[in-house]
């Protein structure tokens, strides 16, 4: 359904070219949930924005293809993209308070999506009160959506403003906007990071329900490995703009191949295991502007670094069972 091939997006800055997304390959089937994990600044969110054609100013897509339902999104005109955005591909952003417009009623913001994509045109009958009838049917649909995402008493809450909603309720309203046009692909960018643990569980449960009932495919961007472990069927681990490991969730987490994934798993405290001293990955995430082409970006922090790591650029290699790794150790 979605296939990304060799996607590269760079930011042209004064300090040089920053490869925010570097030769990323991803694929996603109908009804599948893919987890995109990595630390901040590794290009997870940039990948999502590139899919939607929302790359901010100094950014440019310099290569690759994004095939969505047989068509290359990178070849589309802005007008064509606008029709896809929100209708076929919807996005949920991290911070619910900044996603919703504070000066419009929540219900109206959900209805806007229906209005823009003109889904209600056919249902409204002609005649004098055409516009009003159309609005009524749209409002009914919004009530239905709000109920579906678990917002209680939608008849009342339709007319409330975002500040009257709690964080969890705001995120539910945003999910309702994303669902309004029955998008087949949902891109969720850290949908629960701003929320508390118990609310996070509620929202994840809601997303899982949507996935079950509507067969919506999802890309979940998160830095929380445990969340991806519970929620996703496949996981892709990103580091410095590259996908370093990709495969079925259990495979990646139980038999991690890339030194970065291994390090990441050793550095998180786990509940239910005997307490051990954490083994952090030394150093910090590299500055993307100063990375050299052709070398492994993880090299300076890697415990298993070899001279070969600096020579050739690795490619994603299949190590069996749909498990792909980009590392000189497996090339």
């Amino acid at each position: 359904m979605l296939a990304i091939e060799q996607l590269t997006m760079i930011y042209e800055t004064k300090r040089g070219r920053v490869k925010a997304v570097n030769k990323v390959d991803l694929s996603l089937g109908t009804g599948e949930i893919l987890g995109l994990v990595g630390e901040s600044g590794c290009g997870k969110s940039a990948t999502l924005l590139t899919i939607l054609g929302l790359v901010p100013y100094p950014g440019k897509v310099t290569g690759g293809r994004i095939i969505f339902q047989g068509e290359d999104l990178l070849q589309k005109t802005p007008a064509e993209l606008r029709k896809i955005r929100g209708k076929e591909i919807a996005m949920i952003f991290q911070d619910p308070m900044t996603t919703l417009n504070p000066v419009f009623k929540v219900g109206e913001q959900i209805r806007e999506s229906l209005q823009i994509h003109g889904l209600m045109n056919e249902q409204a009958e002609g005649g004098w009160f055409k516009g009003r009838k159309r609005k009524e049917s749209e409002v009914d649909r919004v009530y239905q959506l709000m109920r579906e995402v678990g917002i209680p008493s939608p008849e009342k809450r339709y007319f409330e403003y975002p500040f009257q909603f709690s964080g969890g309720m705001q995120q539910r309203a945003i999910i309702a906007i994303a669902l309004a046009c029955s998008a087949q692909l949902l891109l969720a960018d850290e949908p629960t990071t701003a929320l508390d643990v118990t609310i996070q569980a509620q929202i994840l449960e809601l997303l899982a329900k949507i996935n079950r009932e509507r067969e919506t495919a999802m890309v979940l961007v998160t830095h929380n490995l445990a969340m991806a472990a519970e929620f996703c069927q496949r996981i892709a681990v990103m580091y410095a703009g590259e996908i370093v490991e990709q495969g079925p969730t259990d495979e990646v987490l139980e038999k991690p191949k890339h030194p970065y994934t291994q390090g990441l798993l050793r550095s998180i405290p786990r509940i239910g295991k005997v307490k051990q001293k954490l083994e952090p990955i030394p150093g910090t995430v590299p500055d993307l502007a100063s990375l050299e082409d052709g070398t492994c970006p993880f090299y300076p922090r890697c415990a298993q670094a070899q001279p070969a790591c600096l020579e050739d650029e690795c490619t994603l290699e299949d190590v069996g069972g749909g498990h792909w790794v980009k590392c000189a150790l497996y090339n």
Binding site: E39, D196, V197, I199, E205, E230, R270, L278, P280, P282
Partner: protein
Amino acid sequence: MAKILFGFLPPLSLPPMGRGQMLAKTLTKTRDPVAICDGGRGQTLGKTPLVELRGLKKHYVLKKSMLEKLAGGREQVVKAVDGVDLQIFNGETLGLVGESGCGKSTLGRTILQLHPPSAGDIIFDGKPIHDLKREERRDFCRQAQIIFQNPYSSLNPRKSVRQILALALRARGLSDPNLQEEEIRLLLPRVGLSEAHIDRYPHQFSGGQRQRIGVARALALKPRFVVADEPVSALDVSVQAQIINLLEELQAEFQLTYLFVAHDLSVIHHISDRVAVMYLGKIVEIAETEELFNDPRHPYTQALLSAIPRVDKEARSTRILLTGTVPTPIDSPAGCAFHPRCFKRKGRICEEQPPDLVYDSSWHGVACHACQML
């Protein structure tokens, strides 16, 4: 190339400390642990409480606008911390968890007198803080320090590391610049920074390194008690582990006592000896870490623990989904504050009477009517 890159990284393992141990020695010398027996309780755990809170409250009165004043009506009070009894023992790490807005940060700051408490007593090292004389109070402020959550906003961007740390040393009474310099040069490698960093400004550091400066600043005062207010939640996963390890090493070296405030239960589980769970300004459950995670008794703790996503399949349990969200601490529900969301509600008693924190023989405390009826 690799060497150049390595050169900029902080040293992986901390170098053996000649002077650092001396620092530790002087620390222990100045400390005379006063054995306080609290009805045998401290002795049961084999420790003495360093900090004890008795009915600590922190209420904020909301200001009313002119119109509201004219209209009359009740004064609105935010009960951020609402009657907390707690003991923090010498050398332990007490984890404090709860959802945002439950008052955990306020509690930490109130203990340090960053906010004056509305009611209740704070007893530090056997002495009630409000009775302290000016000099003693100063000494308390030195001995109790805080590490803030956000390393980006808790350091002054206009001051270099030297200035930031020198200010802390001056507060300790070390005013000779040469001695200050010497001390700073000892301190920096201890928190995983190098001496080359001494003249840099906060913006030249990464988040993890900034948090190390924050730790150094707290450490510069030779504290005994440190409130760590979400010290790792603004950091990346791989850097988080570095700071957690650093805090653990420092605790062992300087015999620090931590109150570790966090909302991430995996981190709390890793670092704490005991864990207290807070809900709407009150402690609802407190126990030793393993005991709490294996046998949570309060329905809120049960839901909280079941909601954490876990990497290991065996560790997962069936999820208890709570309905609704945390109510505001303004006009919090009568009776047990958790009753509107509780799945073990026992009728009227929960709605009318606030439950007390009752301890069992293994000092596992629960504030719940349903648990106490069993």
